[in-house]
């Protein structure tokens, strides 16, 4: 069973990643062709879950969780909130936007070309694995005393940074709720309709 | 107060089970955050029979295995229906009368119905559920009323307490 597991790991990991990527590409094309914006919002949620799954398979567990929380949770709710203020069906474009497709394709190709210069995925000699990462991984538990490396990086090594970030996000959220939330609720109460 | 203690104990046990690290610093964090949550819940005033149905005692431990058995049987039945080439379904919506007096009891009953494949609670209105049943068999299982009886037994104490509280309120009003 142990031997099986090693083999399963070496073959199955990349296979699952490829399957998830194929799902994501298919989903992206389908979303682009959709006119119903509500359906698109729902499918964006699924897209986030897929990319979170792919990130998990690539060992970026913390990024995956952020993706799931922000992508599938908050942004779906925000998009739906925006949909509540407009119509939920995209109007048909009058002419065929050839230039737009060209620009998108060119950007995609350039991004793909850019990845060629990057070190191979999981390369132990990549610059990112040579600099401070080993220090955090090996010494943070003795230095900080918290078993989770990400927690000690966020809350201690760059604690001031995180503190500032949290303050900014909290202030922004409070501001947004005060500016938008109250207004929407009041309007709804006054008109008394679900328009 | 006793409710707060029960909640605190539960939260701390969950923390200890999930953390897996047992050194003084981390346990202190766990105790502090449990106290924080209890304080927050107490401040919100949502710590009542609904949040923490302690009055049920150990009766849920007898109900849950029965429910699991029902869920497994219903799963097998619905799986058979799905795989049947003729797809022998007969969807219908039934209005059934339920015997639960408390909200907790009704929630448990409605969720148990939904958890069992083949039946889904559409709406809960005082004393009645609207239930969507997939097949004749699942509808019959629903109408036999066994789940209703068992959930009623589960909340027996709570119903008495609810009645007492209602009469007390009317008396004081």
């Amino acid at each position: 069973m142990t031997g099986d597991r090693v083999m399963g790991e070496s073959i199955m990991g990349p296979t699952v990643e490829i399957v998830l990527f194929v799902f994501m590409i298919g989903l992206a094309f389908y979303i682009a062709s959709l006119r119903s914006l509500f359906a698109a919002a729902m499918l964006f949620g699924i897209f986030s879950l897929l990319s979170a799954g792919a990130l998990t398979m690539m060992d970026a567990v913390d990024v995956a969780f952020t993706e799931a929380a922000v992508g599938a949770g908050i942004s779906t709710v925000l998009i739906l909130g925006a949909l509540g203020l407009t119509t939920s069906v995209e109007t048909r474009p009058i002419h065929h936007r050839f230039t737009a497709k060209l620009v998108v394709t060119a950007t995609g190709l350039m991004l793909a070309y850019g990845t060629l210069d990057m070190p191979a995925y999981g390369d132990p000699d990549a610059p990112i694995n040579k600099h401070v990462a080993p220090h955090y991984l090996y010494d943070s538990e003795t230095e900080i005393g918290i078993p989770n490396v990400v927690t000690s990086v966020l809350a201690s090594y760059r604690g001031y940074d995180t503190y500032g970030e949290t303050t900014v996000v909290l202030t922004a959220a409070v501001g947004a709720i005060l500016l938008l939330g109250g207004g929407v609720a009041r309007r709804r109460r006054e008109t008394g309709s679900s328009e | 107060m006793s409710r707060s203690l029960v909640l605190f104990a539960h939260l701390l046990i969950v923390w200890l089970l999930l953390s897996g690290h047992y050194d003084p610093t981390l346990i202190t964090y766990g105790v502090l955050s449990s106290i924080g949550v209890v304080a927050l819940v107490a401040h919100l005033g949502i710590l009542d029979d609904e949040a923490l149905p302690v009055h049920m005692g150990i009766r849920p431990f007898f109900y849950v295995p029965w429910l699991l058995k029902e869920v497994v049987l219903a799963n097998l039945a619905v799986a058979k229906v799905i795989l049947d080439p003729r797809l022998p379904i007969h969807p219908r919506i039934l209005r059934i009368r339920v015997g639960q007096k408390t909200h907790v009891g009704q929630v448990i009953h409605a969720n148990s119905i939904t958890l069992t494949p083949g039946t889904i609670t559409l709406d809960v209105r005082d004393g009645h559920f609207l239930v969507h049943a997939l097949t004749t068999d699942s509808a019959e299982g629903l109408l036999s009323g066994e789940m209703d009886r068992r959930v009623s037994h589960l909340e027996a104490n709570g119903a008495r307490r609810e009645a007492r509280r209602k009469s007390g309120q009317e008396g004081s009003a």
């Binding site: 069973m1 099986d4 597991r5 083999m7 399963g8 790991e9 199955m12 990991g13 699952v16 399957v19 799902f23 298919g26 989903l27 389908y30 006119r35 119903s36 509500f38 359906a39 729902m42 499918l43 949620g45 699924i46 879950l49 897929l50 979170a52 799954g53 998990t56 398979m57 567990v61 995956a64 969780f65 799931a68 929380a69 599938a72 949770g73 779906t76 709710v77 739906l80 909130g81 949909l83 509540g84 119509t87 939920s88 069906v89 679900s194 | 999930l18």
Partner: protein
């Protein structure tokens, strides 16, 4: 053949089926149903893949996903006004 590979294939197949339903619609509710089912399958996928790669610590993540999925689902249903949306979709 590793047992986790079988589980993985099962979960991925189910994801594909749910995705097909999300594509097909036809009503918004079908899509939401598919998205919700997809969320549960992601939880299972992460749990199984954690065992497959020998790192069951990923379960913490699966646990949080299960919670997030539920919160997102309820937020969504509270937030959206389904009457308009359903009729819009039918008009399409």
């Amino acid at each position: 053949m590793n047992v986790f590979v079988v589980g993985m294939i099962g979960v991925l197949t189910t994801m594909l089926l749910a995705l097909t339903r999300a594509f097909m619609g036809p009503t918004v509710f079908d899509r939401v149903l598919a998205a919700n089912m997809f969320g549960t399958k992601t939880v299972l996928l992460i749990a199984v893949s954690g065992f497959l790669t020998g790192r069951p610590e990923w379960l913490d993540l699966a646990l949080l996903y299960a919670l997030m999925n539920f919160i997102g689902m309820i937020a969504l249903l509270r937030f959206s006004k389904f009457q308009n949306l359903a009729s819009d979709e039918q008009a399409k």
